[in-house]
């Protein structure tokens, strides 16, 4: 995203804090695809993801005064809002339906392939992420996009807790190696 930026991150933060609608529009243009991708990955439902994306940007707009640049970059902060908002929605929906995380997790598992294919092609990055095996993607996605705890993942994948940790670590190491080639 760097090369196309015409504002520095500090300028964006300042603009948002000053309630500058032009800056908000710019931030939306630059970050909505990433945040929409997150919402879609979490809830796996386009209508719900559209609603979520609006919630997420309203939270960014309303909450920008709570953003503290000492604690991290703007994108990290926005991503956390996106993930937390989406995961909360997913969990409360599951709660209403009387489902356990395991059951949602399984649904995720099955639809994984479809969503992933579509988004990667969209950026023309082809097979980059195919270098992660399915097991590695599943564990990263359950943690990152589903907010599953180590215990939930152990139950869901029916593996010991220690294996969850080792597998997760290896998956992230593999991911980082792959990204070095991009």
């Amino acid at each position: 995203m760097r090369p196309s930026l015409t504002y520095t991150e500090a300028e964006l933060v300042q603009g948002l804090k000053a309630r500058d609608e032009k800056i908000f529009s710019y931030v939306y243009d630059h970050y909505s695809p990433a945040l929409y991708g997150v919402a879609l990955k979490v809830v796996n439902d386009e209508n719900a993801a559209v609603d979520l994306l609006q919630d997420i940007f309203l939270k960014i707009w309303r909450g920008i005064d709570r953003y503290d640049e000492e604690k991290g970059r703007l994108f990290t902060w926005m991503l956390n809002i996106a993930r937390n908002t989406a995961i909360d929605t997913l969990r409360s929906r599951a709660h209403k339906l009387g489902l356990k995380m395991q059951e949602i997790g399984n649904g995720h598992y099955r639809q994984e392939q479809l969503t992933v294919q579509q988004s990667v092609d969209h950026l023309g990055l082809g097979k980059v992420l195919d270098q992660l095996n399915k097991e590695q993607r599943v564990i990263i996605d359950l943690a990152y996009y589903r907010g599953c705890t180590q215990e939930e993942i152990a139950k869901l994948l029916d593996i010991p807790l220690g294996t969850v940790k080792t597998r997760m670590r290896n998956a992230i190491i593999q991911l980082r190696n792959i990204l070095k080639q991009v």
Partner: protein
């Protein structure tokens, strides 16, 4: 010493993926405040995780933006009134 223990323990990876326990996260954050090298390593890992997210970006339907800008403009008017 301490830093090495964190680097080899796998906690950084769990933390960045959002899977560290509350206690693990607190320990790591306390150590990050003390050791800049460790903080840099966590940040590097976080950037890679964010790159993974960016690789899966999807352009949202176009009409959302206009709707959102209207909502935001309405709020701004309310604040300044």
């Amino acid at each position: 010493m301490n830093v090495q223990r964190f680097l080899s323990s796998g906690i950084i990876e769990l933390y960045v993926a959002g899977m560290a326990s509350v206690q693990e996260a607190q320990e790591l954050e306390a150590a990050m405040a003390q050791f800049p090298d460790l903080a840099r390593e966590v940040e590097a890992c976080r950037r890679d995780m964010e790159q993974y997210v960016r690789l899966q970006a999807i352009t949202p339907p176009p009409d959302i933006k206009e709707h959102l800008l209207r909502m935001v403009a309405d709020e701004t008017t309310k604040y300044t009134d």
